[in-house]
């Protein structure tokens, strides 16, 4: 098995005892979607909630003194970092997939119409927001630990609130916005490229921190 996958599996086994909490985090925003009657609003909230859980593996390993286990395992430190990012990214995608289905179902049950483009847009927006919530958090946890870097947990909430504040200020009749939205494929591609770059930079910073860190 690839070392990154082994590391991701190790981190997954840390989360396994907390699956009930994760299920709650994934399913609870459905209520918000029902109240707001908007898929993108619900998914955005969902990603914010999930972004907060990015600290879980750090907190669990810190609580159990597991840096000593990481220190004795025959695996390069950078692979431990890759594994964590892989798991967190995969968790985000899985949660996004589940949410798109459940939230759409809830909206339809409430008599709302949900278009395919709305689902696609919510997926891209959700992934974009989740990416930016985690890429700024993880290097902070690597540097300061889950307790020392607790302030990084506020990044998703801050990001979500900023979105709520700034979004209404965008002029819906703006020609720039119209031009951007007029090419949805290119927009989605650019967003995903941006996400990939953000992950790349964040991983690079985290690897650097971990390599210099003493256990």
């Amino acid at each position: 098995m690839n070392e990154t996958l082994k590391a991701a599996r190790l981190d997954f086994s840390l989360l396994r005892p907390y699956w009930k909490t994760l299920c709650f985090v994934i399913l609870m925003p459905v209520i918000y979607t029902g109240v707001a009657r908007s898929l993108s609003a619900g998914i955005s909230f969902e990603m914010c909630m999930l972004g907060i859980t990015a600290s879980y593996t750090f907190a669990i390993s810190e609580k159990n003194g597991m840096e000593r286990l990481y220190g004795v395992l025959p695996v390069a430190r950078r692979h431990l970092v890759y594994g964590k990012y892989l798991l967190i990214c995969a968790t985000g995608l899985l949660a996004l997939g589940i949410s798109l289905v459940t939230h759409t179902a809830v909206l339809k049950a409430l008599g709302e119409t949900v278009h395919a483009w709305e689902i696609a847009a919510s997926a891209v927006i959700g992934f974009f927001m989740y990416t930016f919530y985690v890429v700024f958090q993880l290097p902070g946890y690597y540097k300061f630990g889950a307790v020392g870097g607790k302030m990084f947990q506020f990044i998703p909430v801050t990001g979500y609130l900023l979105t709520l504040i700034l979004l209404p200020r965008v002029d819906p009749n703006s020609p720039t916005l119209a031009a951007v939205l007029g090419r949805p494929g290119a927009l989605a591609g650019a967003v995903l490229l941006c996400c990939a770059a953000a992950y790349g930079i964040s991983i690079g910073v985290s690897v650097r921190i971990v390599k210099n860190k003493e256990m």
Binding site: S13, Y18, I60, K63, N64, R68, V72, E214
Partner: protein
């Protein structure tokens, strides 16, 4: 490969503490005790071996593999047990295997479950519900399940009850039985080493004090006890960790130094009385320093370094004061007693020297 672990001139500085030039080798098939008082640098040494801390200088080879350049290969051959559990407390023993086993190509699941059975660990029991002794055994079960050639234990017995400590020592003895496995065992409970260790590496205040065979280590020192008036400044200088009591003193002395002390004693005797002779100056077990033959026997035992638990007595006043009158009326209180030292005593007395120097 005769040595499973080679540490050469290992150094690391921290604010207020320096580990300097630590050198030792652990041959295949043996147990080495890494000893020293709290804060002496034992855990730092282990973390440097594991590349969990960055070294300032030196070299570490694990089974001939560099611990940094060939870290992955080296770590695949070693197992580590710390003083407390390092698995997720929410895992069961079985889940622990699932999480850890993927990292080891030689992992043997059947062996792991046999070990759990042998150690009376319920695979369905959560790590947090295991006692401290059981948690340590779980770490050992993992260590033994992939055939680690070198087992490093960092203070494994601290916090364990005597029964669990005894069990651990039995397990370790069994582990090295085939001559292919070795153990580096850091502890400040030196009583464990009297039973288990073949080699000793003693670190004090970040410096290597001794490394070598356990018997050699123990034979290198003697405990000397004497009356309050027996000491001269010259003798004091040769004693290690001198402790003064109202009734006398006790100190550690290097076995090789005993000869010099004897020489000093002889000098005092020659000044005082030629009749007592060289042997009389050194004394005897009968306390009567006129017993020349007894004196020679004692001298030979000391010179050859074969002293047993027998007490060797010699009057201190002859070495220290050299008064002829004192030779005629030796007081039992004023006689010196030379006894073999335990590892614990050696550590305690030599640490006292460091404390005194540090003041």
């Amino acid at each position: 490969m005769d040595n499973v672990l080679e540490v050469r001139e290992l150094s690391r500085s921290f604010p207020g503490f320096q580990l300097k030039d630590i050198c030792f080798t652990l041959p295949k098939g043996y147990i080495m005790g890494l000893i020293g008082p709290n804060g002496s640098g034992k855990t730092t040494t282990i973390k440097l071996i594991l590349n969990m801390l960055k070294r300032d200088g030196g070299e570490v080879k694990i089974l001939g593999l560099d611990n940094i350049a060939e870290e992955k290969a080296a770590k695949a051959e070693l197992a580590v047990v710390f003083d407390s559990n390092y698995f997720c407390e929410a895992w069961t023993a079985a889940q622990t295997e699932t999480a850890v086993s993927a990292f080891y190509e030689n992992w043997d699941t059947d062996r792991f479950h046999r070990l759990l059975e042998r150690f009376h660990i319920d695979p369905a029991k959560k790590v947090k519900d295991l006692s401290r002794g059981m948690q340590m055994k779980l770490m050992l079960a993992c260590a033994f399940s992939y055939g680690a050639k070198l087992l490093i234990l960092d203070e494994p017995t601290s916090g364990l009850d005597p029964v669990s400590r005894d069990e651990l020592l039995t397990i370790l003895s069994g582990y090295i039985e085939d001559g292919e496995h070795s153990v580096l065992f850091s502890t400040h409970i030196t009583g464990d080493l009297e039973r288990a260790a073949d080699y000793i590496t003693y670190i004090n205040r970040g410096s290597l004090f001794f490394t070598g065979g356990k018997d050699e280590f123990v034979d290198s020192f003697r405990i000397v006890k004497g009356g309050p008036e027996d000491l001269t400044e010259e003798i004091k200088e040769r004693l290690i960790g001198l402790r003064m009591h109202p009734t006398g003193f006790e100190a550690l002395v290097r076995t090789e130094e005993l000869k010099k002390l004897k020489h000093m004693a002889n000098q005092g005797c020659v000044k005082g009385s030629r009749e007592a002779g060289d042997y009389g100056a050194w004394g005897s077990r009968t306390v009567e320093n006129s017993d020349v033959s007894g004196g020679r026997a004692a001298e030979n035992r000391i010179a050859l370094g074969r002293e047993t638990s027998e007490t060797v007595r010699f009057p201190a006043h002859v070495s220290a004061l050299g008064k002829p009158s004192a030779l005629k009326k030796p007081s039992p209180v004023d006689s010196w007693t030379v006894e073999p030292a335990t590892i614990d005593e050696i550590v305690v007395f030599t640490s006292k020297v460091s404390d005194d120097n540090g003041e």
